[in-house]
Symmetry: C3
Subunit: 320 residues, 3 copies
Amino acid sequence: YGRFGLDYNDGNSKSMTDANYNGVDKTSITSRLRVQFDMSAETDSGVAFDARLRAQVESRDNVPGTGIFNGARFGVVYEGLRVNVGNIIGAVENTPGVYLETRTAGIGIDGAGFVSHVGNVNDEYFNWDAYSSAGAGSNGVEALYSINGFTGHISYSLDNDILNFNTAGTLTSVTEGEDRFGIMLAYSWEGWTFAVSHQNSGNMWEDKTIVTGSYDAGNWGARIAYADNDGIDKWGIYGNVDIGAASNLVAFYTDEDAVSATDVAAGRSDNTDATGNGGEGSSYGIHYSYDLGGGASFETGYRRASNDNDTFQAGVYFSF
Amino acid sequence: YGRFGLDYNDGNSKSMTDANYNGVDKTSITSRLRVQFDMSAETDSGVAFDARLRAQVESRDNVPGTGIFNGARFGVVYEGLRVNVGNIIGAVENTPGVYLETRTAGIGIDGAGFVSHVGNVNDEYFNWDAYSSAGAGSNGVEALYSINGFTGHISYSLDNDILNFNTAGTLTSVTEGEDRFGIMLAYSWEGWTFAVSHQNSGNMWEDKTIVTGSYDAGNWGARIAYADNDGIDKWGIYGNVDIGAASNLVAFYTDEDAVSATDVAAGRSDNTDATGNGGEGSSYGIHYSYDLGGGASFETGYRRASNDNDTFQAGVYFSF
Amino acid sequence: YGRFGLDYNDGNSKSMTDANYNGVDKTSITSRLRVQFDMSAETDSGVAFDARLRAQVESRDNVPGTGIFNGARFGVVYEGLRVNVGNIIGAVENTPGVYLETRTAGIGIDGAGFVSHVGNVNDEYFNWDAYSSAGAGSNGVEALYSINGFTGHISYSLDNDILNFNTAGTLTSVTEGEDRFGIMLAYSWEGWTFAVSHQNSGNMWEDKTIVTGSYDAGNWGARIAYADNDGIDKWGIYGNVDIGAASNLVAFYTDEDAVSATDVAAGRSDNTDATGNGGEGSSYGIHYSYDLGGGASFETGYRRASNDNDTFQAGVYFSF
């Protein structure tokens, strides 16, 4: 698909007298073009093999990018069971009820930082195994099983150790490769969906548990989500409603707790200092979408993050 | 398309006793393979959205490259109006009558430096916003409107400032991001085409005005072009003629003025010192093409640049 | 095609007390996804032009990669004659009877180092011009001619010199660019194939001569190969046999001679010191394949290299 539009971000400034001067105009073009290659083969016994590869071009904060391929994901499918290796989806990433009901899965044209996600707290954003459209991804292995509205998903990834040598070639230290284990269970029944997921990580501050519940009535929906992010609680409420034949409105409100002083003393980032990606307290946003037909839509949204960063975006999305 | 052939360039030398020794054989393979991805979607109201992405592999001066994607260009089209964002065409780049009437738009197989373009002077080549097939491009926005032989085109791009920090993390200096504004007007009528374009740039020595006029009689054509490149005049005359059913001959002559001493004192490159890409005075070249059918053609050309660099190239072009 | 599986390699270790500790688990995912773009055009006179480009994603030793394009190969074809430029095949690479009769052309899922190839000795692996699926390749030119079971192939490539400058900008030394010339002759007749190839290289220790003979009876085959790798002899015997309708077994044994003391004194690597890619003596391996239908197969193989490195791999291959 393609999407492009304008992004107003008050975290950028081209005025040298501003405290947050970074040389980037507050208003810039945000765009993405994604081409997906899906390949598959089916054996005589009904087992199917498939692979997915994406090429993606992004422009953000007025920094244009060139197209890049991501890492490949390989899958084996047999009836309700799927086993993937490589650039895996990830069990926590795959939890129903954590992303917004918009085409970006966030607010605006590029998601605007995905502050509505209850797993994103402090400056620890996206610290779980997830499919990467622009990088190599997690290089893990995962199994998914679906039957009668029930979905189970487990995933595992392990990084290599990083060996550090001095100039004489002697091994001086080792950064141990992290491993991450994730599990997700979800159940859907007549518009209701409940899900719970958990990640156990070898990295610091990455253990997390997410619980979500949602109801989809067709032309409106409501949702709640909660996460314990290794001691930092975050919860959110979300609603969406169709307006007439072509319009849709999505709104959210989240509240994020402060990090404990013990964790900060142990080296964790301090979200009570409201800078960077972090910042405790409330975030909220609203998104409006208008269907233009032919796979294209107008999308616009505003959100305020808990660190008081404001963004407003408007543009178009189209499928091909 | 694909194109490949041999390039003789007397600016290269593999003989260590030569003054211009650079380790590259005078004769080398020059080649390019380009794959273009065009995607589009049309809304119910007749507005169309599209995107273009290219993957390109080049080999020049015996340095083989691997394939790379460029930056994407997104467009909105409604009747005669087109608005593009991202890797834009650029108003000055889009001026009719500046490139040669060959498949390369220059001489030989890879354009041979495009010395015939009146906007290329001194060592300031391609210093205007232009679509990039191998890079991210200008990240600009532009509007084009066409009606009854008339075309108008305006384009704008703005770079981010570059912030320089010392090792203590203090901001020491700022390189301001350039902005470039371009405008082009063209009119075609019964074989005649007239065009004028102008670029206003925040960078030094980049303001330029181009004027062209051409006549295309079908089996022959003639063209004149003039540019004021921030004080350096360059003009050119161009002719092309079909020979029999399959052959075509293109020739050009250009003359470039010297840079003013005031500009050199202010830091501008000195084209009176006949080295590098620059060099004042005359350039000339001739190109011969033979149509092989099936989208393939034999292409060969010789040109002498104003800095006395000679190149001769021969090879084939094919479409797929 | 796609392929993925598990690789057990006793050269890797995640236990810091091991002598060969490198932070990589002995068991890791090995995978590759390859997409090939073939383009062509045919002239009115029957001469055809074509080009080949590949995009490939690899994961080895638990290091996931993103997709990359390789360098392009361009070809001109007329009846039995083909001339290629760019990322050429290479005459020595194209010798029949040097690779295993498996889908990887080696053992297991990713070839397991291709120790069965008689041209791979010491730590001088793949030191001949060969098509590169993940890099720019040789940037050479080659001609192939086939008629009535006979194939002749010559190839040539020349690298640019590398110029080294000191900080004052003075040229201090030059690394001369290598040239490689290769020739290959092969003849096939009623299941028998004989081939001989030779490379003459401007690089040290790269001159080599390969001789192979093989017989293919349809459901079984046998093969011998010998190479003189600039003084290091290596020979191998190979056999393959179908088992039932869907299974196939391939096995090999090779023996590599020690490098001469004179060469080691002159700076050549010493394969008698059994480390790295090298190691003199015998290598052997066995590979089992089971056809799953629909272009997919299960592939597994074990091999011991002459440097006592063991690998075992199992996984699947599929075409699309």
